[in-house]
Structures are given as C-alpha cells and as structure tokens.
Symmetry: C2
Subunit: 344 residues, 2 copies
DNA sequence: TATGTATCTGCAATCGTTTGCAGACGAAAG
DNA sequence: CTTTCGTCTGCAAACGATTGCAGATACATA
C-alpha cells in the first residue's frame, strides 16, 4: 500500500476480457479495432482510472514526443515570446517541450545537452550563449543524430539548420536612420562578437556608414554583455572622447535605457544632442521618456518557424544532408529618441 | 541502418566482459563495485559513445526525476524569475522541470495536468489561472498521489501545500501608504476575485481603509483581467464619477502604467492630482516617468521555497496528512508616483 | 579441512507499453 | 463444401534500464 499501484492496460484487458495488445490498439484508435470494442475499452479505462504511461510508450516505440530547448534565459521578453510560440505550435503536433536555461554559460549548455539527450528528446532547439564557441557539441554524432535547430543566436561559420532575424538589415536600418537624421558620429554598443546577432548587426552598421562615406571609428564601438553597468561604463569612456558622439546605436533595449539614464544624469538632451536607438522592441521602449527607437523582431513568427522546421526534420529523418536556413523580417520602429522634429 | 542503433549498457557489458547488472551498478557508483571495475566500465562507456537512457531508468525504477510546472504564462517577469529559481534549485537535487503554460485557460490547465501525469512526473507545481475554480483536478487521487505545491496563485478555501507572498500585507501597505499621503478616495483596480492574490490584496485594501475610517466604496473598485485595454476602460468610468478618485491602487504594473497613460492623456497630473501604485515591481516601474510605486515580491525566494518544499514532499511520501503553507515577505517600494513632495 | 566473513558479480524478473506476425471468425465467392 | 478474403484479435518479443537475491571468490580464522 506504499504507492497506490498504477492502473495499466493489463488491468483494463483483464476487466474487459481482452488481450493487452487489443486494449493498446483500442486506446490509440487503431483502425483494426471495431468501434464497439474501442468504446468498451475506453469506458473501462475511465472506470478504472487508467493513466497513460508516456514513459513506457516512449521507451518501447523510441518516440518520446518531446523536444528539448536550450535558451540563455527565459526572462528576456523576446525569448519568452519565441518559446511560447514554439510550445504552442508543438502542442498542435502532439509534442512537448522541455525548456532549459543555460544562463549564458557554455559549460552548463553542454551539460544540458547531455541531459536532454538522456531524456531521449527527438529534437533539439537552441539559442546559444553569448560565448559558445565550440559547436562540436551540437554535431550530429554528438547529439546521437537527433535534428538540431538553432534560432536567434546561431553558430557562426558553421552550416546548420537555423532561423534568424534579419540582423544585418536591422543593423543597417538603424544606422541609416540615424545617418538620415543627420548624425555623423554614431557610437555602437554591441554584445560580444562571438555571438552571431551582434556580428551581423555590426556588419549592417558598417555597411550603412560606408554608404554614407563615414569611416568606421573603432573608438566609437564597444563590445560587452549588454547590461546596465557595462553600458554606463562605455558611456563614460565614450563621452570622455575629445569629440562626443551624436548618436548611440545600442544592441538591446536594456543598453539603450542605460544610455538614456547616462544622458539624463549628465545633462545631455535626447534626442536633441544625442539620438539613441535600442534593439528588440521590448515593452520598456514605449514606456521610457523619450520613447526609444528599436527594432521589432517578430518573435512569434520566429517561434512558429522553428517549431515547423524541427517537426519537418523529425518527420523526414531520411537523407538530410543539406541545411535549411530561414531569415525572418525585422522592422525599424522609429520613436522620439531618434527623431529630430517632434511629431505632433 | 535507419536509425543508428543506440549504445546500451548491454554493449558495454559485452565490451568489458561483465554482466549488465554490474555495468549498471558501476555507472551509478554503487558501493558494491570496486573502483577498478568502475573505471574500466566508465572508460568503455566513453569509448563506445554510450548515452544514458533516462526513460528506461525512469520506467524501471518509477522515478522520473522530473517535476511538472504549470503557469499561466512565462512572459510575466515575476513568473519567469520564480521559474528560474525553481529550476536552478531543482537541478541541485538532480531533478528536471517540465514547464507548461496554461495561458489563463482552466481547460488547458486541466489538459496539461493529464499530460504531465502521463509523463510520470514525481511532483507538480502550479500557479493557477485567473479563473480556476474547480480544484478537484488537483486532488490527490486525480493526480495519482503525486505531491502538488501551489505558489502565488493558489486555491481559495482549500487546504493544500502552498507558498504565497504576503498579499494581504501588500494590499494593506499600499493602501495605508496612499492614505498617509492624504488620499481619501482610493480606487482599486483588481483582478478577478476567483484568483487568490487579488482577493487577499482587496482584503488588505479594505483593512487599511477601515483603519482610517474610510468607508469601502464599490464604485471605486474594479475587477477584470489587468491588461491595458480593460484598465483604460475602468479609468474612463472611474473619472466619469461625480467625484474623481485621488489615488489608484492597481493590482499589477501593467495596469498602473495604463492608469498613467490615461492620466497623461486627460491632463491629470501624477502624483499631484492622482497618486498611482502598481504591484509586482517589474522593471518597467522604474523606467516610467513618474516612477511607479510598487510591491516587491522576491520571486527568487519564492522559487527556492517551492523547490525545497516539493523535494521534501517527494522524499517523505509517507503519511503526509497535513498541509504546509509558507508566506514570503513583500516590500513596498515607494516611488514618485505616490509621493506628495518630490525627493531631491 | 571446514567455516565464517567481506567483497564483489551475475541471474533473471520487472517496469508499461508497442507491434510484427499469425490466428480466428464469418461472409462471400467458386 | 472448399476457398478466399476481410476484419478483428491475441501471442510474445521487444524497448533499456534497475534490483532482490543468490552465488562466487578470496582470505582469515577455527
């Protein structure tokens, strides 16, 4: 009487006087079972309080109906939105999602891969840490052949299935917009270049500068984790420069907010003396005063795409030799923090 | 050659010329196995590319090492923080967390419980939807005897294991603070009372009013999902009143922000003419101008508590007849949105 | 030599499903 | 009456680990 014995299909079989195989088939609506018996079996199951054991099924059929996901942290609103989209979409396929957080640690990330593989996930979805450099842990052999899909933060210089926002375009659009507002000394506060998204945005930034024939100035560009402290630090050095910048393109909204704070504390007027743009368009951008120009990434779109792709890969495990890459659109949202004339 | 055959302990046994049982024990550091053989086995495992099959182990031992969690949505920053704390803590116990979102739908919530039970979770952690009224789905029998711990949003009038913030105190402190600022017509924008937290906060609100001998005025109190649209609506009716309120105690920060927006659009000066408080202290409260008074709930503390409690319950499955309830502290964070005199 | 003890290892059943194959049955066709 | 077919059902072997129990080995002791 320690643990109440689980009710199994065996019990049902006994109850209705049939074999376990028929019961199994009846419960899963196998076409070879008559409607009549199906009903009988299902009623008995209900009556006995039967609970399906997905573990046993997964073991036997080696289909766990589970996808693993590793993400730096779920508290970033963009990530939360993507994950939710993925999860909802996967549910429509009858698949569950196992969510793990790497907390930006490549070591933990590695451990989590092992963990997920041990739980026999049928697919793996990953947005890497800022510092992931060794992608071999995601190799087909390393993950036992299960399909891997990356999104947002993806391996650099390595063929893989991936869905990314159009980071280059985002970086380009922000920069171009600032240039069009008349800015010429545009600072760029970026994350580490070991992370794909920052690399791409930097390229977009450079491209726009180039187009406007403004030389790339290293003293205006910073690379570090984009939290408040680091960003304030960068502002500090930035404004110690002989020549102050007239715009800052920060690579996320947290950093943009920090720039605003710095400006406020140092009597720099935004957008008049300094224009500021963020990235990711999180909800804080429109609460801030001034409202912050940012780039919408359509996380829902990305999430749906990721879910579809991984399901595709699972269902056609055959000769998958080529890699699929999808780029989702981005949209520059212009707000007061970068606009010369105030809109009415 | 369809799917590359998995390497099992059987293969290892063959490799090192031992029985599977010894291999199994060696891998799990069983004390009856000599260090020497353990090493040999582990090396062989490494060499063959062995991957532990947690499914098989879970089935056999009926210990899945997995806890299920059902939460309305992970995109609420408070929830994300609690979940992260829970997950990290559980990892230290060697347990995994399976996260599902009920999306505020009691039906989906019910489905998810079934799903989690099917995956043989050893425990269940729940923060209910706003509208969950039928708690029988969480009954010991309904969940096959696995322990259930509620947090934040918990069943009303039903004994259960739970960890909640001190909502009553939070509601009381906010209201008292507003009263002390000289407010007398304090509106209260609350969530539906089917949800424990709002019920408690309302009680705190009433208690403070009572203490200041201000009668409870129904026309100042609203119950609805706390999104922007609903809140604006409530403000509309609120300010159509013959006598306008001089303060609004909104039950979350999204609602408080909406109130600020309404005030701004209608030329109502905050905090001069109207004081506004939120709840949950999400990051937007200090970005908003004016900054918004709110209540910190210490999600990390709550998460750790939840994880510890569920592990306790799992480890002492024996005669658990009594229910444990823990209340975590809250702290009123006073900001400009409710302060009469501006701090320097 | 027999016995005891400590340490290590193996046998085989078991967890709850799924599934290939074969069998049973009745009806229709020859 | 046999044959054939279609429809439904059952047998029994998996899936990959864990674990109670018994057995083996080595060594010391009686």
């Amino acid at each position: 009487m320690k643990k109440q014995q689980q009710v199994t299909i065996k019990d049902i079989a006994l109850e209705v006087g049939m074999s376990v195989s028929s019961v199994s088939r009846a419960l899963s609506d196998h076409p070879h079972i008559s409607e009549e018996t199906k009903l009988k079996v299902k009623n008995a199951a209900e009556k006995l309080g039967y609970r399906y054991n997905a573990l046993a099924a997964a073991l036997r059929s080696s289909r766990s109906k589970t996808i693993g996901l590793i993400v730096p942290r779920i508290s970033m609103s963009f990530q939360a939105a993507v994950i939710t989209a993925i999860q909802n979409k996967l549910h429509t396929y009858g698949y569950n999602l196992m969510i793990f957080q790497s907390n930006e640690s490549p070591e933990l990330e590695k451990t989590l891969i092992k963990l997920l593989m041990a739980t026999q996930v049928e697919g793996l979805i990953v947005s890497t840490t800022l510092y992931t450099k060794d992608y071999s842990v995601f190799d087909k052999t390393a993950v036992g052949g299960v399909p891997v899909v990356f999104y947002d933060r993806v391996p650099i210089d390595k063929a893989c299935h991936k869905i990314v926002g159009d980071e280059f375009s985002g970086g380009y659009q922000v920069t171009r917009h600032l240039l069009e507002q008349g800015c010429t000394r545009i600072a760029h506060i970026s994350g580490p270049l070991s992370c794909s998204i920052y690399l791409q945005r930097l390229n977009g930034y450079k491209d726009a500068l180039n187009e406007f024939q403004i030389p790339y100035d290293e003293s205006l560009v910073f690379f570090h984790e984009l939290n408040k402290e680091n960003t304030l630090q960068s502002c500090e050095t930035l404004f110690k420069n002989k020549q102050a910048p007239d715009a800052v393109f920060a690579c996320n909204d947290t950093a943009a907010l920090a720039v605003l704070e710095f400006a406020r504390e140092n009597g720099i007027s935004v957008p008049k003396d300094l224009k500021v743009s963020g990235y990711a368009n999180d909800s804080r951008t429109e609460i801030s005063r001034p409202e912050i120009t940012s780039v919408e990434q359509f996380p829902h779109l990305m999430g749906e795409g990721v879910a579809k792709l991984i399901m595709d890969l699972i269902h056609n495990q055959d000769n998958q030799r080529s890699f699929l890459s999808l780029t989702t659109p981005v949209e520059l949202i212009k707000r007061t923090s970068t606009l010369s004339e105030q809109p009415s």
